[in-house]
Each structure stands twice: as C-alpha cells, then as structure tokens.
Symmetry: C2
Subunit: 165 residues, 2 copies
Amino acid sequence: MKINSMKDLLINELRDLYGAEKQILKALPKMIKAATNAQLRSGFEKHLKETENQVTRLEQAFEKLGVSAKKKTCEGIKGIAEECEELISADPEAEILDAGLIEAAQKVEHYEMAGYGSVRTWARQLNLREVADLLQQTLEEEKATDKKLTELAESMVNQMAAAHT
Amino acid sequence: MKINSMKDLLINELRDLYGAEKQILKALPKMIKAATNAQLRSGFEKHLKETENQVTRLEQAFEKLGVSAKKKTCEGIKGIAEECEELISADPEAEILDAGLIEAAQKVEHYEMAGYGSVRTWARQLNLREVADLLQQTLEEEKATDKKLTELAESMVNQMAAAHT
C-alpha cells in the first residue's frame, strides 16, 4: 500500500487492527479453554463478545471512510499469540498458566491501546468525528479490560501461583 | 524451558524482555535516522540511552536470581519492528512517517509496560524486593516515554501531517 497522506496512514493502521481483532477472535477460545480460574475464564468470554463488537466498529469505520474492510496480518499480535501458545504447550500448573495467560492478554490489550489511541488521534486531526468516536469506544473497552486483568492478577492468580514455588 | 514454578515463569519472561530490549537497541538507530522532527529524534536518542540502562537492570535482576542473562527472541517486538521497517520502506512524506514512527514506538512501550508490569508483580509476590524494584524503575521509564510520545503526537506531528491530506 502507498502511504501518501494521513488518511492512507489511518486506513493502513485500521487494516492492521482489523487483522489484529480477527487474530484475537481465533486466539481467545484457546485461552478460554486453557484458563482454570473461573473469573479469568469468564473475563475472557466477555472479552470475546466485546471483540466481535470491535470488529463491527472497524467495519463501520471502513464504510465511513469509503474503503473496503480489508485486513492485514498484524505481526505484533501474531508474535504475542505465538508466545501464548508456547506457554500453553509448556503445560505448567494451573495457577502458573493463569498468571501467564493474564500477562499475554495484557500484552494484547496494550498493543491495541497503542494502536487505537493513535488512529483515534489521527481521525480527530482529520476531522473524521464519527470514525474517531467509534475508535474511542473501543479504546475505552480495551483500557477497562486491561484494568480488570491487573486487578485479577494482583488479587488472586499470582498469590495462588506463588504458593507453588 | 520447563515452567514448573512462578520463579520459572518470571525468568522466562525476563528472558523475553531481555531479548526485547536488545531488539529495540537494533531498531532505534533506524528510527532515529528516519525521524525528521527534531523533538522526536532527540526523544528516540534519549530512549536509546535509557534502553541501555534497562538492559543493565535486567542483567542485575538475572544476577540476583542466580541465573545466566540469556535472551529469547521476543516475537511481539519482532512483529512491531517489522511493521515499522515496512513503514520506513514505504517512504511516505516526512511528517506522515514521523506520525507512524511515534505509533510504532508507542506499541513498543506498551508491550514493555505490560511485560514489566507483570514481572514486577510476580517478583513482589515472590518477595524478591530488589528484583521488583529494578523492574519498577524500568516500568516507570517506559510509562514516561509513552506519555511524552502521546504529547508529541497530539501537539505537533499529527497536525503537520494532517495539513498534507
């Protein structure tokens, strides 16, 4: 893709995030299956539904921009997902696995926070208010999910896992 | 690597972050060369020096843990760096490139914020206070760098880039 304008940069990054969300839709069921802590599992299940909405919002953004909803492979999320699968394959004790799953999920959320923060800012600068609003909604969801994961990590999973050392 | 305890999980992730920092040491000079905005370039130069200190802190953490300072290829940072190189190769106008470089740098910072946040929490849970303190110092630097990048993006680079659309 040629990047000749800020709008091109925005579309290019939206395609990266669209790829990212689709990759997350594939990764989350494996994380749900692997998670043993009930709160963590239900958190992942809730985030799976949120991710479906986030995909829809990106499709709405593409429509408003008058371009097709194409996705790019998101190399950042691909790397994070690979490392998460590696952890699951190492088959550690349940609570250790849960701690590692939370970390992987937080890396995903942080990738998205950086990505959605930038595209939201670019859309605002381009006076694309409706697009910016859609992206802001998703950004807020990602931040809320990250905060919940931090609370869960601090309150429960890690304490249990430390008992096994 | 076998992951049989929280300490193993901590060491495994420290090796990922050690790989990440080394990969960032290779990527930053390319980003400095590509950046045109003087504030952005000097910000990257400052972060290069910080990254060298962060590598040293990880080496101190490995020493305190009594393990060798081995690195793993960090797949997440590898993906982000690849996308950044792709952007540089697309050779967009200077201000658009700067906006994209800021986004790539924020993805890197966010990856590290998630990673260092987790290992700091695990080290605390394991009562490894000195290790936790080292990781907390780096976490604070990464957060400060991300904040500066957001301010720069909002105040300067994006406004200029939008003028080109």
